[in-house]
């Protein structure tokens, strides 16, 4: 209230309020009704609010899962299909990939003989690399840990 010392009536109201815990639930409701409070309406509103909050809380994981799924689906659509590109474009992109991806990065290239690779093999490697790279990213562009 304020810093003033409480008066007798304020102390009395405080004490009587604290001692409502000695009343049964029905007695307490009756006393609140005497004060003009629509107890049933209040409890309905409060329970409905609590139920909706608890439901939202329970379903929060589904929201996260939905966001992840749409992120992955969106990423799939963004993947360039290298199989349809020209042989020159594929070779250039593959050479670029070999130079940028080093053994210490998250993605590595491992195959026995690079010379035996066909352009289709290269295109498939480029597609796989794109897919892995996009799946490692969240909706906001950050990477999964």
């Amino acid at each position: 209230m304020n810093n003033d010392k409480q008066g007798p009536m304020e102390n009395l109201l405080d004490g009587l309020s604290k001692h409502t815990k000695f009343l049964s639930r029905d007695e307490r409701k009756a006393e609140l009704r005497e004060k003009g409070i629509d107890v049933d309406q209040f409890l309905n509103e409060a329970h409905s609010l609590i139920a909706s909050c608890l439901k939202e809380e329970r379903l929060a994981w589904m929201k996260v899962a939905d966001e992840k799924r749409s992120s992955i689906e969106g990423a799939e659509l963004q993947i360039t299909n290298w199989l349809g590109k020209s042989a020159e474009a594929i070779r250039a992109a593959f050479e670029n990939l070999k130079q940028t991806v080093n053994p210490t990065s998250e993605y590595t290239l491992a195959f026995r003989n690079k010379k035996d690779l066909t352009t289709d093999d290269m295109a498939n490697i480029l597609n796989d690399y794109e897919r892995l790279r996009l799946r490692g990213q969240n909706v906001d562009g950050s990477k999964d840990k």
């Binding site: 405080d14 604290k18 003009g36 209040f42 939202e56």
Partner: protein, 219 residues
């Protein structure tokens, strides 16, 4: 949502907590009456309002703020203490906002003629004014008279008067009251229950005039 809040809301006693919270909020508003604030009363239900909100509105708002994270849930305190802390600040804020308008609200119950208020005469006096202490003394004196009137309405019933005296002196611990008054704890529970039937006199009044009228009429 805070896990501790989640657990507290799922407890079987949550309804008792909500009832205690709304009682606390109503008492908080009602105490302002004894500081000279004249709250409005809802025309439909006659419950007291601070600003445009009733006690139950404040508790619902406090609950909403805890659930949506606007207010943090203090895990070291109970759900009731968390709710009470938020409703106290919401009610205080409404009261301050009402004070700043320079106009005092007035109570108006259905069928009662509208009371005209002179905004200059009724302007709220700043708390820190030089005569603030005198004003407070007057408030305490006025409350003392009202308390005596309530007490006198229980003439011939010494245990109830002793109980009221203890509360008036700010003793709220039941064991302490029992020790002070010599009334067994079980009997104090009974007295408190009995006082519920006097609710219209003790609690259901929006102002001093109404208290006096109800006590005199014995209604």
């Amino acid at each position: 949502m805070d896990p501790a809040l989640n657990t507290a809301l799922g407890q079987p006693d949550v309804e008792d907590v909500l009832l205690a919270a709304v009682d606390h909020a109503d008492t908080r508003i009602r105490k302002f009456v004894w500081r000279g604030f004249k709250p409005k009363a809802s025309k439909a239900t006659s419950e007291l309002l601070a600003g445009e909100m009733s006690a139950k509105d404040f508790v619902i708002e406090a609950l909403r703020r805890l659930c949506d994270g606007t207010r943090n849930y203090n895990q070291n305190r109970s759900l009731l203490e968390n709710l009470n802390s938020i409703t106290d600040s919401l009610i205080w804020s409404e009261k301050k906002s009402s004070d700043r308008t320079g106009l005092k609200d007035f109570s108006q119950r259905p069928g009662e003629p509208e009371e005209l208020v002179n905004p200059i005469l009724a302007a709220a006096c700043p708390k820190d004014s030089p005569d603030g202490a005198m004003v407070n003394e007057e408030i305490i004196e006025s409350q003392r008279k009202s308390f005596q009137m309530v007490r006198a309405s229980f003439d011939g019933d010494k245990p109830t008067q002793d109980y009221l005296d203890a509360l008036e002196q700010d003793f709220h611990d039941i064991d302490e009251i029992s020790e002070l008054t010599g009334i067994p704890v079980d009997k104090i529970y009974e007295i408190r229950r009995k006082l519920r039937t006097h609710a219209p006199c003790l609690f259901g009044v929006p102002d001093y005039k109404e208290l006096k009228r109800k006590i005199i009429e014995g209604s």
